[in-house]
Point group: D2
Chain length 307, copies 4
């Protein structure tokens, strides 16, 4: 196994190498605000079990966490309401694109898992529970701030507005769920909350710190029971990268969750929590350079949940 | 965490409880030889990292390992040919039944993963590599015997013949793969090999011992490199229980592979290898009582790859 | 062949028989205003080539024509814009439910045909062409009034409002089409127009008269060229009854278009135009008694496009 | 309407035009014997109601009728056993490729209609009814000879052997049907019969004459009741060109059935029966030039079942 003392040097090398190579993938084009982001960016932060936070690249630059937020909205729902969410959403990999509506028809409105868009809409609907969107959003933001021990975490209203204006696919999913009575609140309310939740901005440093609880690191604020954090990690491993989840597990051996903004959160149980960001995406809608960085990190450290 | 010294007692309690309850599920009906098996049976063996082998129930009674064999045929292929198999088969959960042909049409003959039937046929075809079926089967049996350090592992020819006579669905899959040029050998040759591989008989004790290599236990015969056993474990976790894989990972936190004969192999990295058998199946075609036993074992021991 | 002089008597017998039997199917439940309709109703009107209009049952009672309107919105689009609509919608039977979204994903936003909901939304969008909904609706109503030579044809605003309030599935389809750039106008505008178009009320007498043009009857107002009315009739035959279209063609040998309000329009080329209404539906969402009446009418008269 | 007296001249012009243009499509590649056929060939024969037989091109050259045979095997089954076949096969367009296995999984082994391969295998199985393949084949050949009033109709054994050797997809379909208990006879027996039935050779003249019964032409040998020939024509119209059926109906207004050998049979009720042959295929697997010829013939003659 590699010496963790050489981790800072390794991460810097990774950053330099990616910039030298210059093959970044393409940024998500369907959210106008995100389409303007320069793909030639990279950041990584690793929060170790011993308390050290090691970073490289633009680790203090905020980015749109997008679907990485699904991990935390699920955490909030599990914390507040326990396991009732599983009556409305499954726990199986979908084998389909993040925004697929196909399986939703075949399975009569019950999304396959909480990490595809349809399932995340149901999670957000559950979290709303008749409250104003502001309250549900405060709960997610509060959870993130407490987890990261950092109050400087906010929503980018422009990104939320941009996604609201162009999010026809998500709107279709929401009305489709409603047609199966699998949304309790009005679709527009759920969508508004969801778009804002996705528009949360965080730096890699913040996100790595926020993930310590799911990784069960000593010293992290313990907002989740052991059972819950293990279950969330299991879902990250089987469903965290859409129809590229199996490949990600195969290559890294680690639970992770990606976002279309180019972020990836890695939970390395008992050892570390890591956040990676590079906005160019691969064919599955996951960060191209970020996926490679995750694989390289796993190889360098020898980390794998599979022993 | 529970004391492993109390494990023997716990496993006996489990066995007693299942027999007292008497809710076993239904045995697979589509293979006549298996349909005759009494569902009211249970066995479990746990091979610990310290060398102990702890069992309960009928742990020395041989059963048909069926799809659990897919783990070992894949191990043989990876050992012999490296990673070339991935040109012909994917690494993603299918979200579909074990014998589904649907995705195969949508994905033009490339099975989603090596643990659904279509993918296992391709693995077997790769292992054949122009050799006689007998040689490929010898290789799998040899791998199992060496892993378990036990030469008393055999194929039940009656089960193989029974499946050959009635395996219309697998035959359809094989010809379908052939139509996409994703079988090199003649379909009947591949099918014959596959039916025999599935008809391997093992006891829970043997299977638990054979799994030590994938779990990376100290002292086990090391037939697989670290990279390979981690990758096999990752595939077990994301694809090992067909369209119930996500649920199994969520409930147990452990990589496992089920067979329609009622067997389940668990790899608990660095800690243990376990085999469970109970022939009654749940809706996904996985052992009903076996799945529950895996979940109870994980809870009792605190084992989970997610820390 | 039967004597058409005995047609009045036959239609009365049919009406009496259906009422005596009392097996009507269930009314559509998903539009509240329609769910209140008494299923025990039947009406039929046949406009013959010689100018006679023969009816039985409640042939002067207005009902909600719903998807029968798709025939006429398509007719308006073909009349106004020619064949450009076919760049945006196909001409193939869907083999799926009227409100399916599944194929739309597989075929990247191009609906299979203009008679399923997704295709009709595209047709309505084409007809809008930047105009106010009122103008497009006036065009459809105008076409119907001119075809039926009857100005007493109106929209039931309550039904339109009811469908607008509960039409989550159609809303999902519209936003889904928009996400593929296959709606030009704002989804809410298209939906508003579509819900009003579906809420047109007509009697069987009016609908039979309005259909004469598609049947190419002598003496009817000729609003469609021969090529266009033949093409519309072909689409009615292959796609007019959703995933029950093949069965309807097999049983009746006639082009027809059903609506979820229980109406069916039959075009019997050169011979007659018929309208049938009974609000109880079968499993495919087509009028149960209406389908049987169409089959009985075809058998009695010997009418079939297949000679 | 055009004068039928000018039909010979029109057909000759068509033939000359196609040869001058030289855009023929590609011959089916998956049956080696058919892959060798020169695509630059065209033939057409029209059997008129008045008894005239008008042809152009190579109308006396035998070709492999392939799936056009499905019309006649269905006719034999309906004649011999009545309507019992509909318990085993549907009457709906499939919206899918001729050799799709996908819907078969979704609909649990019941093919959508008798004109896709899966449905035709069931029809052939029904016709076998425990008899030797030779007897079932004699029945189909006998039906064709009687219909065409020509005994010189045979099976090309080389084409049958070629298809048997390479027909992996059809073999998959047969075993798949068997797995759902929707084949009574052994799959290999059904396949053998099916491959021979598809390998029947006929000239356009023979095929046009054989189709007169389905078109209900006066003077033709009446082997089918009116009800049966109408139903067969309805199936040809909704399902006769696989997933191009709706388009064919839209363009020609006529019931037709295509074969992968490049043949098309048209039934023009009461007026004519036509056979067209050109071996190059379009994207749907239907004759490219043949489809165009059918459309041109319909336009020239004004023939359409839609009045």
């Amino acid at each position: 196994m590699s010496d963790l003392d050489r981790l800072p040097e390794f991460l810097d090398t990774l950053d330099a190498e990616f910039h030298a190579r210059g093959d970044w993938g393409a940024v998500a084009s369907y959210i106008p605000e995100l389409a303007r982001v320069d793909p030639a960016q990279f950041a990584i932060s690793v929060a170790l079990a011993d308390g050290r936070l090691i970073s490289a690249g633009q680790a203090r630059k905020p980015f749109s966490i997008q679907s990485v937020s699904k991990v935390f909205s699920l955490a909030c729902v599990l914390s507040r309401f326990g396991e009732s969410i599983w009556h409305r959403v499954g726990r199986e990999p979908s084998g389909d694109r993040f925004d697929s509506i196909l399986l939703l028809e075949q399975e009569e409105g019950r999304p396959r898992n909480p990490f595809i868009n349809a399932g995340a809409l149901v999670t957000t609907d559950e979290l709303l529970a008749g409250r104003a969107p502001k309250e549900a959003l405060s709960e997610i933001i509060g959870f993130l701030r407490a987890s990261a021990e950092d109050d400087d975490i906010h929503i980018d209203a422009d990104v939320a507005a941009s996604e609201n204006a162009t999010g026809h696919r998500n709107r279709a999913l929401a009305y489709y769920l409603k047609s199966f009575d699998n949304l309790v609140n009005a679709p527009e309310l759920v969508l508004g909350t969801y778009f804002h939740q996705c528009a949360i901005e965080m730096t890699c440093e913040q996100l790595a710190l926020a993930g310590r609880g799911i990784a069960g690191l000593p010293g992290a604020p313990m907002l989740l029971s052991e059972v819950k954090r293990r279950r969330i990690a299991a879902l990250m491993m089987t469903c965290g990268h859409y129809d590229g989840s199996g490949d990600f597990a195969f290559r890294t051996g680690l639970p992770g969750k990606s976002g279309v903004g180019g972020g990836i959160l890695l939970a390395i149980p008992g050892r570390a929590s890591a956040a990676i960001w590079s906005p160019g995406l691969n064919a599955w809608g996951n960060s191209q350079v970020g996926t490679e960085a995750a694989e390289r990190l796993a190889r360098f450290t020898g980390w794998s949940v599979f022993g």
